[in-house]
């Protein structure tokens, strides 16, 4: 089927443009920009709303295997479609973790339940224990796009050095969690007056810089391809800048929560605001928004982490960290647009184009020949977020009851409409 979007505000992160135009898709791919509607095409009038490449959400947790009651591939796929996410890049920190060709094969089969595309990351070490590397070549050959132990930092430098050396030969991407594991152990807040007054175990924001400096030093030793999953403090940025200047193959991401919330949002021990790493000071949040605008931070993602009510209804430091985010990533990101910090092409560069490029995927673009993975949204439509209206099985969002602006009207994956 041929679809022709007219009267669209095309958000093109590759060209950096935000302009009215038309888009034609055919056979699952983008066929033409700004052309006349081909014969027999179904015309969709976008009425001046935004049409952008679908979001490639890097770091989604799905509860299969082990925690299917929190999120399944089916429910995560529905939440993604409703949030304009057309590719979920799924984390390996399941129970048991994805750390072998056999376990990757299992989740790859399960992900057929999702209505949006799914790509998988593998653990970096067996059982995410930081002792033995996984079968990286086998895993890469059957589709692992990156290797990460998630928030389990590989503490043994010698082992991480060997993992990176082995990965370099394969051209495999290693995703690190820049955090000093000793300093951040048990911490649930960022060091400062707020954490002290509330008596929450805290960690210095500099623990992130320490972890990043360690990782980048090993990258310099080995020449590995490296991505820092979340850089959330201004103090860590100079290290990243130095590494890029030295020609190292490095990139970095941040969660949308660290760009839109700060440590004070925790308020009265609200556990839906507990994250790893913890929310930061307002000055760090502002520094990170600027870093995204400057292109120092490459990727914005939801770090979708479904938790059931039992995991959150606990004393703050004992509650499970993380929040669902597939469906709220876009409206939360639009806060940054409405506040004037980031343009729409800048946002979609960080949410669609950059993650796709870094992971070797073919999405994130509006050019002819690119997959027809698209999101149509009204950037201005206001609404009150009701967590029970979310498609995820888990409802742990920090935005419950929040005033949001921006509604997804339609989502297409490979030319097929999956939402709206």
């Amino acid at each position: 089927m041929i679809l022709h979007f007219t009267n669209a505000r095309l958000i093109d992160p590759e060209a950096g443009t935000d302009a009215n135009g038309t888009l034609t898709i055919e056979a699952g791919k983008i066929a033409a920009r700004d052309g006349a509607p081909p014969e027999g095409a179904k015309v969709i009038d976008c009425a001046g709303r935004c049409l952008a490449p679908g979001i490639v959400d890097w770091g989604v947790k799905v509860g299969e295997p082990g925690e299917r009651h929190k999120e399944s591939y089916a429910s995560a796929g529905r939440a993604a479609a409703a949030g304009g996410v057309t590719t979920m890049v799924v984390r390996p920190d399941t129970r048991p973790p994805v750390d072998s060709p056999e376990s990757l094969d299992f989740v790859a089969k399960r992900s057929a339940d999702s209505i949006v595309r799914v790509r998988h990351m593998s653990a970096l070490t067996k059982a995410r224990e930081g002792r033995e590397m996984v079968e990286m070549a086998f895993l890469r050959d059957i589709g692992a796009v990156a290797f990460t132990d998630g928030v389990h930092v590989v503490a043994d430098n010698k082992l991480l050095n060997r993992c990176m050396t082995y990965a370099r030969g394969l051209g495999a991407l290693i995703v690190g969690h820049p955090q000093d594991p000793g300093l951040s152990k048990g911490a649930a807040a960022t060091k400062g007056k707020f954490a002290s007054l509330y008596g929450i175990p805290d960690v210095s924001p500099l623990a992130e810089r320490m972890g990043l400096e360690r990782d980048l030093t090993l990258v310099a030793m080995t020449g590995a391809r490296y991505h820092a999953d979340q850089i959330t403090t201004g103090e860590a940025l100079p290290a990243l800048k130095r590494a890029r200047k030295a020609g190292l193959d490095v990139s970095a991401g941040i969660s949308i929560h660290h760009l839109t919330l700060n440590e004070f949002d925790v308020g009265d021990y609200r556990t839906f605001f507990r994250f790893t790493p913890p929310l930061r000071a307002e000055k760090d949040r502002l520094a990170m928004v600027q870093a995204v605008a400057d292109g120092e931070i490459d990727v914005i993602a939801s770090f979708h982490t479904p938790q059931d009510e039992e995991s959150k209804r606990l004393p703050f430091a004992e509650a499970a960290p993380g929040a669902v985010g597939l469906q709220t990533l876009l409206p939360a990101a639009l806060r940054l647009y409405h506040q004037g910090g980031l343009s729409l092409p800048q946002l979609f560069r960080a949410m669609s184009l950059n993650p796709a490029r870094r992971l070797g995927l073919d999405g994130g673009r509006l050019a002819a020949g690119a997959p027809a993975d698209l999101v149509l949204f009204d950037a201005d439509a206001p609404f009150l977020l009701d967590r029970f209206a979310l498609a995820s099985k888990s409802k742990n969002t920090p935005f419950d009851g929040a005033r949001m602006q921006g509604r997804v009207l339609g989502t297409w994956v490979g030319g097929e409409r999956v939402f709206g």
């Binding site: 070490t125 590397m133 060997r162 030969g169």
Partner: protein, 321 residues
């Protein structure tokens, strides 16, 4: 005479003519060893002590047989029976043995440089039977003899040394020897098992086995030690076999008449496919064992000649040996 060395501690100190002289003499011992009566009197009356601080069956038997065929009195000392277990230092062991007046001391030790240290303290000829990850000269010489007999020469050959290069004294001695003989050497294996500074070795380095084997004349496989197999250096045996195990498909990238070598003992299904190891048209693994005895006879014969000459000179000068 070309061969002037007092000890055989490594390939590094040897000149190309010295290497050739060992190989040439070894050829005569190959013939001797194929006779029913395998007896020479080159070491008649001399005492050879095999001092093995690290367990070895193959190398030790090869040296033992070589010494016996040359008429030496051979004694084996392995670490399990030695006083090292009781806390004696390496040098005290050396001095103790030296007091027994051996003529040839064959030493294997797990530490690089240990054999050199020992050689400084004794009055006999010392043969290095492998020290740490440093050198294993008789292995390189027997490999060279095997290659020379199969290919007719040692120069202008492309030799791919594959596997755990970093921890292998066999690899080190071989690449020194083949470099001296002007062959082209390729090192093939996972980056985690490559020695540091490998780019400065003057060899070609490949991580991809197929590229590394392309048009090779000789494919030399190395043993993967058990303790390297799980997780630390490589993810698993099966992934290692998939990427670097020598099978018919990978071997097809080498020249059609390429020979396959392995110092033994082999891990079939880890670094080498069993059918390749057993292929009489390609594998020279059994020849390597045969050449081992001959090369060790030649090396000990030459060292014994030098020892006798040295002692003769000392007597003539009025001293005592």
């Amino acid at each position: 005479m070309t061969f002037r060395a007092r000890h055989l501690l490594g390939i590094e100190p040897l000149s190309p003519p010295e290497i050739t002289s060992v190989l040439d003499l070894a050829e005569t011992y190959v013939d001797l060893n194929r006779r029913t009566i395998k007896r020479s009197d080159a070491l008649e009356g001399m005492t050879q002590i095999n001092l093995f601080f690290e367990n070895s069956t193959r190398t030790q038997s090869s040296f033992e047989l070589a010494g016996k065929r040359l008429g030496a009195d051979v004694m084996n000392m392995s670490v399990a029976q030695s006083s090292v277990k009781k806390g004696e230092t390496l040098i005290d062991t050396a001095l103790t043995l030296n007091a027994m007046h051996p003529d040839l001391l064959v030493v294997r030790h797990s530490q690089s440089g240990a054999v050199n240290l020992l050689a400084e303290k004794v009055n006999c000829a010392v043969l290095n039977a492998g020290d740490g990850r440093h050198e294993h000269p008789t292995q390189a010489l027997l490999d060279a003899l095997t290659i020379r007999r199969a290919k007719g020469r040692l120069h202008r050959l492309t030799v791919a040394i594959c596997g755990d290069i970093a921890h292998s004294r066999v690899a080190r001695s071989n690449l020194i020897l083949l470099g001296k003989m002007e062959s082209r050497i390729r090192l093939v294996g996972p980056a985690t098992l490559m020695p540091s500074g490998v780019a400065e070795f003057g060899c070609e380095v490949y991580e991809d086995m197929r590229e590394g084997l392309a048009d090779a004349d000789v494919v030399m496989m190395l043993r993967l030690q058990k303790e390297r197999m799980d997780g630390g250096f490589i993810p698993s045996e099966r992934e290692y076999y998939h990427r670097w195990g020598l099978d018919a498909e990978k071997l097809a990238h080498a020249k059609p008449d390429a020979i396959v070598m392995h110092p033994g003992p082999m891990n079939r299904g880890v670094e080498i496919d069993g059918t390749i190891a057993d292929d009489i048209n390609r594998s020279v693994i059994q020849d390597q064992v045969e050449m081992g005895v001959a090369v060790r006879m030649a090396a000990m014969d030459l060292l014994a000649r030098n020892l006798r000459a040295e002692r003769g000179r000392a007597l003539a000068e009025g001293g005592h040996a």
